[in-house]
């Protein structure tokens, strides 16, 4: 490694082997990005197939095939895309640079995490190839114990991928605590890092629980030990508690990094100091904390006790407060700014629009009596897609366009970027706004076929999914095109103030030529003193 010329940029030199054995956080980040974006494409194809089946009443695929489609869509999107994508790809690349460090604290562990992730993904892919899984991504018992499909491969894949998340989280926590450049105090860190930090804490603390749960599930399937199946003396609702004890905090693993990116992009493209830095930073931690004690809101009609329902409904309502503060502060940041509507900013605005709908519809589901009606209907499907896709994916796309020039030294084509953003935004609303109405009309989720009264809205929703597909096709095409033909990117095309924009595009292997000394916060815009 010492033979490497540190004045070269990190992309230059070495063949495939040098990538597969690299300890450079930037290369590992890029490898994560390639893997997760590939899985995103696969998960997206399953989503399009699900919508295609629901275009009209009557079967297009067999019910079992359809059940596998929505299971694989969910499992791939959750475990192989949306959980790792921002922290492991963009986080890996930019966390060390934004704190002025050369790399993460444990570079070898970082590479190991990537391999663990790939092995886990491989097992999930094996589950797809060996007949698929039909349990839903939630693996609810006792169905998942009795299902004849490849549940064991899929859950082992989830189990193994969990370690990747834990190790990455640990690596990030240590890096943030130990490797900040001189003068980079916690309160001078970009808000993206606060979000990644809060995420890492959840990953380290919550992920072991899903590991234990999947192991118990496999033990029950293989050794017939009765944990969850009442036929063997178990309790099926216990599984739901275990599952959501991880999977609810996991929702915040998914959304917090997206919120972090939006905080960056809004300030840069408004040329304004962020409104309420401390409120946004600490609300990330507050959300992380509350996320551990609200899992029962997935189980209001599961037969858990009324007392549990009382507490979980009450605590869930509290999430609204820090979340709303963030949305309010992002909007307030634009006040008297100089707003530059480039593609990253368009995605950030789309995030605010869609995530606000996603967040507010959460209030319906947190209210006990209303949830009795809406639980397990398309209202829930629409709600979490507004949060996960309208939130996290919009945040990711904002970040991807924002940092693309830095990562690869090339500009993406602005016009195509705006076109693809508009297609995705319109298509998204057509696909999922309709589903709120379907849910209110009582259409349950995970239905292979539906009653005639739900036909028009389902058709509209499917047409929307084609717009989204077209938008992403354009995006994938121009991103790949720009790697070869895009305009050369300057070091700081957006005139941003965080440390990654003080170095070359793309960065050299060691990021900084000499250790930076930080004297101000990350968002010191604003020439006019008031």
């Amino acid at each position: 490694m010492s033979a490497t010329d540190h004045t070269k940029n990190y992309l230059q030199g070495g063949g495939l082997w040098s990538w597969l054995t690299t300890l450079d956080h930037k290369r590992i980040g890029v490898m994560y990005m390639i893997a997760t974006m590939f899985f995103f494409a696969i998960g997206g194809i399953f989503a399009l197939l699900v919508r295609l089946e629901l275009f009209k009443t009557g079967p297009l695929f067999s019910p079992d095939t359809y059940n596998k489609f929505f299971t694989l869509h969910g499992a791939i999107m959750v475990f192989m895309f949306i959980i790792p994508v921002i922290p492991a790809a963009l986080g890996n690349f930019f966390l060390p640079i934004q704190i002025g460090a050369k790399d993460v604290a444990f570079p070898r562990l970082n590479l190991l995490s990537w391999y663990i992730f790939m092995i886990g993904s491989f097992l999930l892919v094996l589950a797809v190839l060996s007949g698929g899984v039909d349990t839903g991504w939630t693996f609810y018992t006792p169905y998942s114990i009795r299902s004849a499909t490849s549940v064991i491969f899929a859950t082992l894949g989830v189990f193994i991928m969990g370690f990747s998340g834990i190790l990455t989280g640990l690596n990030f926590i240590v890096t943030i605590h130990k490797l900040r450049a001189p003068g980079m105090t916690f309160h001078r860190m970009p808000l993206f890092l606060w979000a990644i930090y809060a995420t890492a804490i959840i990953q380290v603390l919550a992920t072991p629980v899903i590991g234990i749960t999947t192991v118990l599930l496999v033990m029950e399937r293989v050794l017939h030990i009765g944990f969850f199946d009442p036929k063997l003396g178990g309790d099926p609702v216990l599984f739901q508690h275990f599952f959501w004890f991880y999977s609810h905090p996991a929702v915040y693993i998914m959304i917090l990094p997206g919120m972090g990116i939006v905080s960056e992009v809004i300030t840069v493209f408004s040329r304004k100091h962020i409104f309420g830095y401390h409120a946004i930073a600490y609300s990330s931690l507050a959300i992380a904390g509350i996320s551990f004690i609200v899992w029962g809101h997935h189980m209001f009609v599961s037969s858990q006790s009324p007392l549990a329902n009382f507490l979980f409904s009450l605590l869930t309502m509290l999430v609204a407060v820090p979340t709303a503060i963030k949305v309010f502060n992002w909007t307030a940041t634009m006040y008297r700014g100089s707003i530059w509507l480039q593609t990253p900013m368009l995605y950030a605005l789309a995030f605010i629009f869609l995530f606000t709908i996603g967040g507010l519809t959460g209030l319906f589901l947190a209210a006990l009596s209303v949830d009795v009606h809406l639980h397990d209907t398309y209202f829930v499907v629409a709600h979490f897609h507004y949060v996960m896709m309208g939130g996290t994916v919009m945040g990711l796309l904002a970040g991807l366009h924002y940092w693309w020039p830095k990562m690869f030294g090339r500009m993406y084509p602005e016009g195509w970027g705006k076109l693809s953003c508009s297609l995705i935004f319109i298509g998204f609303n057509l696909t999922f706004l309709t589903q709120f109405f379907l849910g209110k009309m009582g259409m349950p989720r995970r239905y292979h076929d539906y009653l005639p009264q739900y036909a028009p809205l389902n058709m509209a929703s499917t047409v929307g999914s084609w717009f989204i597909g077209a938008g992403f096709l354009i995006m994938f095409t121009y991103f790949i095109w720009s790697l070869f033909k895009g305009a050369k990117a300057p070091a700081n095309p957006w005139d941003a103030k965080t440390l990654e924009w003080t170095i070359e595009s793309p960065p050299t292997t060691h990021n900084f030529h000499k250790e930076p000394v930080v004297t101000t916060g990350p968002y010191e815009y604003g020439e006019v003193k008031i």
């Binding site: 003396g233 100091h273 009324p306 009606h373 397990d376």
Partner: protein, 345 residues
């Protein structure tokens, strides 16, 4: 606009439907106003402060305004607490059983719904209930999780294997109401449909009377197909012989089982104390347990005492009862519960 949204409205066919819709509407307007504040603010700022040239305009140095942030937080906190409280109040009404409810046993199995009335009448994927009378569904599953969902009633409850769950409602509109399975249960999940037919009380009485008379006369009308043989287990049980074509009440089957399974050795039904507590008048009452807690003897407690008898032992008795897990079928547990219920409460 309002008219347009009307096509998405479901009929309000239970006493709870209107209340749940009222809270839904309240949350809808709260959300709408919050959404508009954010989005109008956002769009206005984007338009008003858009960058006009290539070089950015100078911007003011504003880092936040704590009083504004705190007031937003406080106002929001009050609103969400109000929503929570409203939801909780209605929820307690949803889960509270009314005395004198008409009880129907419901079994979900892949992929159909079975209903059994207290007079022994069984139906599949179709149930008749009287308008205006509280109904209590006592639900179990023969295989995996299901969820009994009636959108017209705005009510839903998961059906869990190995335990009872219940769903209470009072229908206020006659007609057919769609029942869905709302918890994913495999291949034909979306075809696990049933109809709840709400009729006037007189019509309901007539419907039951006609059947009871037919049964006592040994008539096997066309309805036989819907009422019999979905329960193969009762026949092979020698302790519960069929008395000709006479209707078999679940409680009667339970009484026969009570003797056949040897329960009488330790439990009287007269109030006399044997090795175990007497079961006379136990159902629906609170009992003292040997860990000094109290529990109401409901369907789930009786069920648990059969499958896990050592778990909650009545005060003053020894934990000596053997488990009947695996010995008793789900249908037999239903019958025993019905019998114990019939011993007065």
């Amino acid at each position: 606009m309002i008219q347009f949204f009307k096509i998405f409205e479901l009929p309000r066919s239970s006493t709870m439907a209107g209340k749940i819709d009222a809270l839904y509407d309240f949350v809808f307007w709260v959300s709408m106003i919050s959404f508009l504040i954010i989005v109008i603010g956002m769009v206005y700022f984007v338009w008003r402060y858009r960058r006009r040239g290539v070089t950015p305009e100078p911007t003011p140095y504003i880092t936040g305004h704590t009083p504004t942030e705190v007031s937003v937080a406080v106002v929001l906190f009050i609103i969400v607490m109000a929503i929570f409280y409203w939801g909780w109040v209605d929820y307690t009404e949803i889960i509270t059983s009314k005395p004198g409810s008409l009880e129907i046993n419901v079994t979900g199995r892949q992929w159909l719904w079975e209903f059994e009335y207290t007079n022994g009448r069984k139906t599949v994927n179709e149930a008749l209930v009287p308008k205006g009378q509280p109904v209590k569904l006592i639900m179990g599953s023969a295989d995996v999780l299901h969820s009994f969902y009636v959108p017209d009633f705005r009510l839903k409850q998961d059906v869990v294997p190995g335990a009872y769950t219940k769903l209470d409602f009072t229908a206020i509109q006659t007609g057919e109401h769609q029942v869905f399975c709302a918890e994913y249960c495999g291949t034909a999940h979306s075809k696990m449909l049933a109809k709840l037919k709400v009729v006037e009380p007189e019509e309901y009485q007539k419907w039951q009377k006609t059947w009871e008379v037919e049964q006592s006369l040994g008539v096997q009308p066309a309805q036989a197909a819907e009422s019999s043989e979905s329960r193969p287990t009762g026949i092979e049980n020698p302790a519960a012989p069929r008395h000709g074509a006479a209707p078999e009440l679940p409680a009667e089957r339970g009484k026969a089982l009570f003797t056949a399974k040897g329960c009488t050795a330790c439990h009287s039904v007269t109030g006399q104390i044997l090795v175990g507590p007497s079961l006379k008048g136990v159902f629906g009452h609170e009992v003292d347990l040997n860990d000094d807690s109290r529990i109401t003897a409901d369907e789930n407690y009786i069920r648990e005492s059969l499958t896990d008898p050592q778990l909650k032992v009545v005060k003053g008795f020894q934990p000596v009862m053997p488990t009947y897990k695996g010995t008793l079928k789900d249908e037999e547990i239903n019958d025993l519960v019905a019998y114990i219920k019939s011993l007065g409460n």
